[in-house]
């Protein structure tokens, strides 16, 4: 993975020497290039912070929405279906615009860019999380519920100590995917002015007129970020397996 990254970047650097490229805008050996690089890279802070905050909220909301979806009562299940279908139908960008520009008029509460972005991302993702949790919980055999009941555990304890720990292990790869997806979708929050990776790249392009180099760096930033996250998720999966042997 790192090798690929080095190969890719050295290829780009070398071809940059050939002509069309103007790497000076992001050349760390020049003061201006260094400033630009720092400006771009520090956007990662908001990309990560926003994505992590959003995924934590969406996991919690997703779980709360998944639970009624498991009910035997059709009326209760309908809550889950309506939520999932409606939220899933709205494009994330539209949701971001609606939360940021629309919601204040509706509720009188103005959210700053960060929280508007987090809320929109979390809302959108929660529908997918709900489906992931529902599938994960449904994959646990009936015998597990019955064993829990036979030792008199109530619903809450059954979920907390028996069903969810097993379900979460099974859905961990899917949750990892969602986090990657979230990191990518957070780029959309740039449209309302959030100073994350994409917004900063855009602003730099406006002042430096070197979209090729700057967006290439942006691509690499996302690539690195997501490779790290993927490796982290795999590490977590391995650790959970190791804990059981």
């Amino acid at each position: 993975m790192t090798k690929l990254f080095i190969a890719l970047s050295s290829f780009l650097l070398l071809s940059g020497c050939a002509g069309n490229w103007g790497w000076y805008v992001v050349d760390p050996s020049t003061p201006n290039g260094m400033t630009n690089l720092k400006f771009m890279a520090t956007g990662a802070y908001y990309t990560i912070l926003m994505s992590l905050t959003a995924i934590i909220i969406s996991v919690v909301v997703g779980l709360l929405i998944a639970l009624p979806g498991l009910s035997a009562k059709p009326g209760v299940r309908a809550i889950n279906r309506v939520y999932v279908e409606v939220v899933r139908a709205v494009p994330i960008l539209v949701l971001i615009l609606w939360v940021y520009y629309g919601l204040p008029t509706l509720t009188g509460i103005t959210l700053n860019v960060f929280w508007a972005g987090v809320l929109a991302l979390a809302l959108s993702d929660s529908a997918f999380q709900a489906e992931i949790f529902r599938a994960g919980i449904q994959s646990i055999s009936r015998g597990q519920y019955e064993a829990a009941q036979s030792i008199s555990l109530n619903y809450r304890d059954t979920m907390r100590y028996v069903i969810l720990p097993q379900a979460i292990r099974r859905i961990l790869p899917a949750l990892g995917n969602q986090l990657v997806y979230m990191l990518k979708m957070s780029s959309l929050v740039s449209v309302i002015g959030m100073q994350e990776l994409t917004r900063r790249a855009n602003e730099l392009v406006v002042t430096e007129y070197r979209p090729l180099e700057i967006y290439t760096i942006l691509v690499l930033e996302y690539l690195v970020l997501i490779l790290i996250v993927s490796a982290g998720v795999r590490w977590l999966e391995r650790r959970m397996q190791a804990a059981e042997s």
């Binding site: 055999s141 019955e146 009941q149 036979s150 008199s152 555990l153 109530n154 097993q166």
Partner: protein, 250 residues
């Protein structure tokens, strides 16, 4: 039809259970005395599992009444939790919690239901692991144990709740032959300790040795209740005879 006992700890009166249109239990009545060992047998699909699963309300009966240790089964949560803490169940497929070590499988119930501390729960768990003769496996995970060991852990998990009644649903049917004995030995020992037991099993050797009464079911009905000496030699009904013939010549 029911055979009376003096102090029934379980009273099942005219219980019927439906799965949609299909009637799995047809007005079944049975009293089980405190400390009694009842073995339930009968052909596949006769309602044996359904009957014992009604006793701890894993299945809800539609008609009739079940009273366990003085508490009438209903949807009331309080009575349900009381009954389930008092009635343990051992399943054919063990149903251990695969993500928990053996010791954690055993301590979960006592900690959550009785509020025991980690230390108390562990002490109790070790005591019962010794009873089922696998104290050395405490820190392993279920999937690293043999089937026979897993089933003994499942029995210990039930015992940790210190129930007055234990239900067994074909506890040895999923086991390789060489492991059946170790589980039956543990069950025989339990029977000697005064535990009230209802055991669904095809292990007729065990039934002969341990059962106070045999219950024979067919097509959702209790066809015959008899002492094992009588049931295995001169059963009253033709259906019992046919069943015994099949199972004993098998």
């Amino acid at each position: 039809m029911s055979l009376g006992t003096d102090s029934p700890i379980i009273k099942i009166s005219e219980v019927s259970k439906f799965f949609g249109e299909f009637q799995a239990l047809k007005s079944v009545s049975l009293d089980v005395g405190s400390g009694e060992r009842v073995v339930v047998c009968g052909p596949s699909g006769s309602g044996k599992s359904t009957l014992i699963r009604c006793i701890n309300r894993l299945e809800k009966h539609e008609q009739g009444e079940i009273i366990v240790d003085g508490v009438t089964l209903s949807d009331a949560r309080e009575s349900l939790e009381k009954i389930r803490a008092n009635v343990g169940m051992v399943f054919q497929q063990f149903n251990l919690f695969p993500h928990l070590s053996v010791i954690d499988n055993l301590t979960l119930g006592p900690k959550r239901v009785y509020g025991l501390s980690e230390k108390e729960a562990k002490a109790r768990a070790m005591e019962y692991l010794e009873r089922v003769r696998i104290p050395d496996q405490a820190d392993k995970f279920p999937r690293h144990l043999s089937g026979g060991q897993q089933q003994r852990v499942a029995i210990a998990r039930s015992l940790c709740m210190e129930p007055r009644i234990l239900l067994f649903d074909e506890p040895t049917s999923a086991l390789d032959p060489e492991m059946i004995t170790e589980v039956l030995e543990v069950m025989t020992e339990l029977a000697g300790s005064g535990m009230t037991m209802i055991v669904v099993t095809h292990e007729m050797g065990f039934a002969r040795k341990v059962a106070d009464r045999m219950v024979f079911m067919d097509q959702g009905e209790i066809v015959e209740i008899a002492k094992p000496e009588k049931f295995f030699t001169t059963p009253d009904s033709q259906r019992s005879r046919d069943f015994l013939q099949k199972i004993l010549n098998h």
